[in-house]
């Protein structure tokens, strides 16, 4: 059992493929596997964490500027930070998937989220998927088990995460 290589031969390659490394061309458009998606998610989570950290430091700096004499680092409950991180992640992922189809981590790893027509997701779909991903992180594991490299979220929302190293945004939904 092996991965399908469904793409046309090199002679029929479109113009955009010529800009890609030869070894990467055959994968373009295929659903991405577990490792790539996990790495992309790790990058995204790291970025969200950094963002939360920056927000925390910024909040502390604001407090310091307002009353330097009584300044102490704000004691924020872990759940609060987690909630903030979830909010940042939800907003950024929604915007990313509904516009370019790729979060910063997906950009680094060269993957993109598309709907069941291979098009860019609608805003509500992107928001729902971001919520689903945050609420059920283990859903990604289904990529390993799935016969189609799809997470639970992909199955439910009928989306796909594909290898796409180009900068070309996918066509908008309904086009």
């Amino acid at each position: 059992m092996s991965r399908e290589q469904p793409h046309p031969p090199e002679a029929a390659e479109p113009g955009w493929a010529k800009a890609l490394p030869r070894e990467a061309r055959t994968f373009q458009g295929n659903r991405a596997g577990f490792v790539t998606r996990l790495l992309a998610n790790l990058v995204d989570v790291t970025l969200v964490s950094v963002t939360v950290g920056v927000l925390y430091v910024g909040w502390a700096g604001l407090l310091f500027v307002l009353s330097p004499s009584r300044f102490t680092f704000p004691s924020t409950p872990f759940a609060g930070l987690l909630g903030l991180g979830a909010l940042v992640a939800w907003v950024s992922w929604t915007v990313s998937w509904a516009t370019t189809g790729r979060t910063p981590g997906a950009h680094v790893m060269g993957i993109r989220v598309v709907n069941y027509h291979g098009q860019r997701m609608r805003w509500q779909g992107a928001a729902l998927r971001a919520l689903f991903c945050l609420g059920f992180l283990p859903g990604l594991l289904w990529v390993i088990i799935s016969g189609e490299n799809r997470s639970v979220q992909d199955l439910v929302l009928r989306t796909s995460v594909i290898y796409d190293w180009t900068n070309r945004p996918p066509p908008p939904a309904g086009s």
Partner: protein, 262 residues
């Protein structure tokens, strides 16, 4: 032997006899005749010899003119006679008879052999304007057409002409760059090529998506890892007969894959 032969033989014999008689008579009577013609002691004007001498000189002086006159008048007479006779005679059978008896080939070859033709031909050619003659008298179009019909000109050129040299010489004389610049719409061609290969797209992709060699390496390694994980997983998952990773993603220029989700 005919009667004519006998008669003519008799005349000849008579003539010879007369000559002998005359010669002998002259020998016998010569001295007496000379004495009579030029007698001594007779005044010169009464002698016969000077008169004879003057007659002889007169003949010598007038002989050439008289002969010429005689020939001319004879020719004129002959011409008139011919003009009178020729209309009365049917010359054709005569000439035919002559021609039948003549070996014209031998005569012609003898004549040609005895002639030095080269100077004759040279003289004739120098007198003639051969070019003008050919141009006015010859159907040059017909001649050239017939010649071309019989010749495979392409084959002749291919085998007989050093095409390399011809082309090289032509190229040496041409300023190809200037020619191309003048005659070819380079801007149009360049524009069409750029349109065909979608250059802007390639530049955008090559400068944008390929962030760095490191990123490319990480991506390829992760794709390999994906593959490995999939294969290991598929080995344990009996219901996965063949992992289907194609999608509905429609990348530009790519055929639309199956829509397995619908």
């Amino acid at each position: 032997m005919t009667t004519t032969d006998v008669a003519l033989g008799g005349l000849l014999a008579g003539a010879r006899l007369s000559r002998r008689v005359a010669a002998r008579t002259a020998r016998l009577l010569g001295p007496a005749a000379r004495l009579l013609a030029d007698p001594p002691l007779v005044p010169r004007r009464l002698r016969l010899a000077p008169r004879l001498d003057s007659w002889g000189r007169l003949w010598q002086t007038e002989r050439a003119a008289l002969v010429a006159t005689g020939i001319t008048s004879s020719a004129a007479t002959a011409e008139r006679a011919l003009e009178t006779v020729l209309p009365l005679v049917d010359l054709t059978p005569v000439v035919q008879g002559v021609l039948e008896r003549l070996d014209l080939d031998a005569v012609a070859s003898d004549a040609v052999g005895s002639l030095d033709l080269a100077p004759l031909v040279d003289a004739a050619v120098s007198e003639l304007d051969l070019t003008d003659l050919v141009v006015t008298r010859v159907d040059l179009g017909g001649v050239v057409g017939a010649a071309l019909d019989q010749v495979d000109l392409t084959q002749v050129v291919v085998t007989r002409v050093d095409l390399d040299r011809v082309v090289t010489a032509a190229l040496d004389e041409l300023d190809l760059t200037a020619l191309v610049e003048q005659r070819v719409d380079l801007a149009g061609i360049a524009e069409r090529v750029v349109d065909d290969i979608d250059l802007q797209d390639i530049i955008r992709e090559s400068t944008g998506s390929m962030a760095s060699e490191a990123v490319r390496t990480v991506r390829m390694q992760s794709i390999d890892a994906d593959d490995t994980v999939s294969r290991v997983a598929d080995r344990f998952l009996l219901w996965v007969r063949r992992r289907e990773v194609t999608t509905d993603a429609v990348l530009e220029g790519e055929e639309s894959p199956e829509k397995e989700d619908e």
